[in-house]
Amino acid sequence: MTCRLPISASISRLAISLLLIFASCLGARAQLSLKYERDSIPLFRGFAVSVDLAGLLHKALGSYGQYEAALRVNLHDQYFPIVELGIGSANHNNDGVTGIYYHTRAPYFRVGADINIMNKKHTGNRVFVGVRYGFTSYNVNISRPGLVDPVWKWDVNYDISGERCSQHWGEVLFGLDAKVYGPLHIGWSGRFRFRFSHTDGIMGKSWYVPGYGIQDGSVLGYSFYVAIDI
């Protein structure tokens, strides 16, 4: 008997493998390093604000996504404490197969830090690894109009309104940030998200969790952002 991995696990493995390959390639070319670069550059190098475009794209193409902005502190071009704030929403209307409506909209935040692992820290381009802690508290509305009891044939009012849920999670990420022109940067990050704890209300599980994605013990995520140094 063979055991088939779910497609999400296969994709996770593929994406992590790709990230490792990219990291190793960059390591060979750009000489990645965690060492503190001792030079005359001051510790505080300013702030950067960024907007995530991946969440907007996801929202435009599918039934869920998020609007997200971040404030990042630049310490010596090497350490980047960061706060990410966003509003995640899902509007899944009348699923074609199950007929389920699922609505949620709530803010979330993540805090953490990135470390620039390039050997030459001050070029404006960065290769970074980072960690995040995230939290969200959200209400969900779930309904299934027209549901009929399969045995007794009575009409059933399946309606969950304003069920309160919350989740704590962590993230590890790898990303690139490239200086495009002047203070303008673009970058991306691939993220492995893992759940610390969650409350799903009376109905057992929720589906989309703002800032985290589709509910599971762990998921892959990504961001693609545009940032401006201020």
């Binding site: 779910p6 497609i7 999400s8 994709i11 593929l14 994406a15 790709l18 990219f22 960059l26 070319r29 750009a30 794209l57 996801h58 193409l61 599918g62 899944h92 699923d95 197969v97 199950t98 389920i100 699922y102 070029t123 404006g124 381009n125 290769v127 779930i142 299934r144 549901l147 009891d149 399969p150 045995v151 007794w152 044939k153 009575w154 059933v156 009012n157 399946y158 309606d159 969950i160 690139l176 490239a178 200086k179 495009v180 673009i186 970058g187 991306w188 691939g190 009376i202 109905m203 057992g204 599980k205 929720s206 589906w207 589709i214 509910q215 599971d216 892959l220 995520g221 990504y222 693609f224």
Partner: protein
Amino acid sequence: MKHEASVRDHSSQSRGALRKGLLLLSAAVVACLALFVTACSSISCPVQNKVATVYEVNGTLNDTLTITTRKKDGRDTILLNSSTNVTSFQLPLSFQKPVDVFLFRTTKLPALDTVWVEKDDTPHFESVDCGVTYFHTLLSVRHTGMGIDSIVILKNNVDYDLSAPHFRIYFTARN
């Protein structure tokens, strides 16, 4: 001087190449990730998604057992059809009615019993990709006593777990 200028040019070219490489790499990886995430999704519905009550017969019922219930339109529907030598069986629960009524009919000992199961219903949700269902909490069970001696609740929570019985049913003795 000429040598220093050449080194500076070379260094500047390297930085430019590195920046260009990073940009290209960024674009490629973001495109790949976007394709992966938007093109693929997994559906993780539970394989065992049946919600029912499990009745454990005390011993073996040496009789033929038929169980029916009455639907919304007033007609009877058969839930267990002429089963012999029964040791256990499963019965569904309604999604939202507070009390379900079952009719137990045996033939060897001609008897028709009515069983009332009182319960609380909780809507259960897995994912938008999976169908919806209800879990239940058993509150009480009553019955008539023609062919049934007694029914005991063993487990209150009715969900996907069918491994343990919810009721033990004692039928009156058959020869």
